[in-house]
Assembly symmetry: C2
Homo-oligomer: 185 residues x 2
C-alpha cells in the first residue's frame, strides 16, 4: 500500500514535515510512505490553466493518482490553513483521481482547531474519503521538535503507529468490500 | 486616499477581479484605487525566507505599506479561501505595516459563507482593522458577469459606491481621531 505524505509547511524545521518523516520510519509492514517534495514548486492555482497545467502540477497529480491514500500534516497560519496546502488542494478540486481517495489528517497542535476544521471541510467538499479514525491529533508542538525526538517519544510515536495501522486497515477493508485494486479509485 | 485592491482569483474572467475593476471606476473623488497585479507571481510562503524575501514579495509588501486601506474580493474554492489569497496574507502576517490597516472585504457570492468567514477570521488574527460597514455582500454571481455589466447594474453599483464611501469615511475619521497622516500606520 502506497501512502503519499503532504506537508503544508515549507519551513526546513517544520514540525509537520518532521511528523511525516517520522511516519515514514514508523510505517507498518506492507505500507510505504513517500513525502511529496514539490508543493513549494506548484504555481498558484489558476482555473485558466486547468486544461494545460505546468509540469510541476502534472507531477503532483500523478503522484496523488498513484497513491492508495494521502497523509496530510499542515500547520495553522493566522487561524487559517496555509496558502501552500490550500493551493495544492485547489489543483486537485477538478482532478478526477482525487475523488474518494482515502485521506488521513494529522494535527500536530491541539490548539490549532481553525485550520484543522477548515482543511477537513475543504476535503469533504472535494469528496475525499476522510478516514476519521486515522486522523489524530498528535501533540508535538512544545514537547518535541524534530523527527528523532518524535521517534523517541513513546506516546507520540504510538499515536502515529495507530494512525497508520488504522489507515492501512480501512484501505484494505475498502479494497475487500469494493473489489478494487490498488490504487483505489 | 489610496486603496489597494486584492483579487483572490487569477482567472482572467474572474468576477471578483471584475468587481475590483468596477470599484476603480466607481471610486468617489479623493479616492484612487489600484489593483495589485502580482499575487500570482508570489512565491509560496516559506517562513525561512522571511528575512530575505524575493523581489515579488518585497514589491507586494511595499504596495501594501503605501496603501491607506485594502479592498479584498476573493472567491470560495471547495468551501475554503483560495490558496492565492491565503498565500498573499501569509506573507503579511509578520509584516509590521500590515497591522491596523483598514480592510474591506467584498463578497460577490452570497452563498459563499465559508471562505468569507475564514478570510475575516484570518484578517482579525493578523490585527487588520476590518471595516465591517464597508464589507458588503454584492450579489454578482449568476446575475452579472463582467465589469461593464456591474457598472450597468444599478443595485450592485450602488452597493460598491456605498462600500467605498464608508471605507473613505472610516479612514478619514480614523485619521482625524488619531492625528495620523496617510498612509495610516
Amino acid at each position: 500500500m502506497k501512502i503519499l505524505g503532504l506537508s503544508g509547511s515549507l519551513r526546513a524545521a517544520s514540525i509537520n514535515s518532521a511528523l511525516l518523516r517520522a511516519a515514514v520510519r514508523l510505517a507498518p509492514p506492507g505500507v510505504s510512505i513517500s513525502i511529496f517534495d514539490g508543493l513549494g514548486a506548484l504555481q498558484l492555482f489558476n482555473p485558466d490553466d486547468e486544461a494545460a497545467p505546468a509540469a510541476a502540477v502534472i507531477r503532483f497529480r500523478q503522484q496523488v493518482a498513484e497513491a492508495d491514500a494521502l497523509l496530510i500534516a499542515s500547520p495553522e497560519y493566522a487561524h487559517g490553513v496555509t496558502g501552500t496546502i490550500k493551493n495544492a488542494l485547489d489543483w486537485l478540486v477538478s482532478f478526477e483521481a482525487f475523488a474518494y481517495k482515502p485521506v488521513a489528517v494529522l494535527n500536530a497542535s491541539p490548539r490549532a482547531h481553525h485550520a484543522d476544521a477548515a482543511l477537513r471541510e475543504t476535503l469533504r467538499t472535494m469528496a475525499a474519503d476522510i478516514v476519521e479514525s486515522a486522523s489524530l491529533t498528535i501533540p508535538l508542538l512544545g514537547s518535541v521538535s524534530d523527527e528523532e525526538e518524535i521517534l523517541n517519544a513513546p506516546p507520540q510515536a504510538a499515536l502515529i503507529r495507530q494512525a497508520l495501522a488504522v489507515l492501512y486497515e480501512q484501505v484494505i477493508v475498502k479494497r475487500t468490500v469494493t473489489g478494487a485494486s490498488f490504487p483505489l479509485r
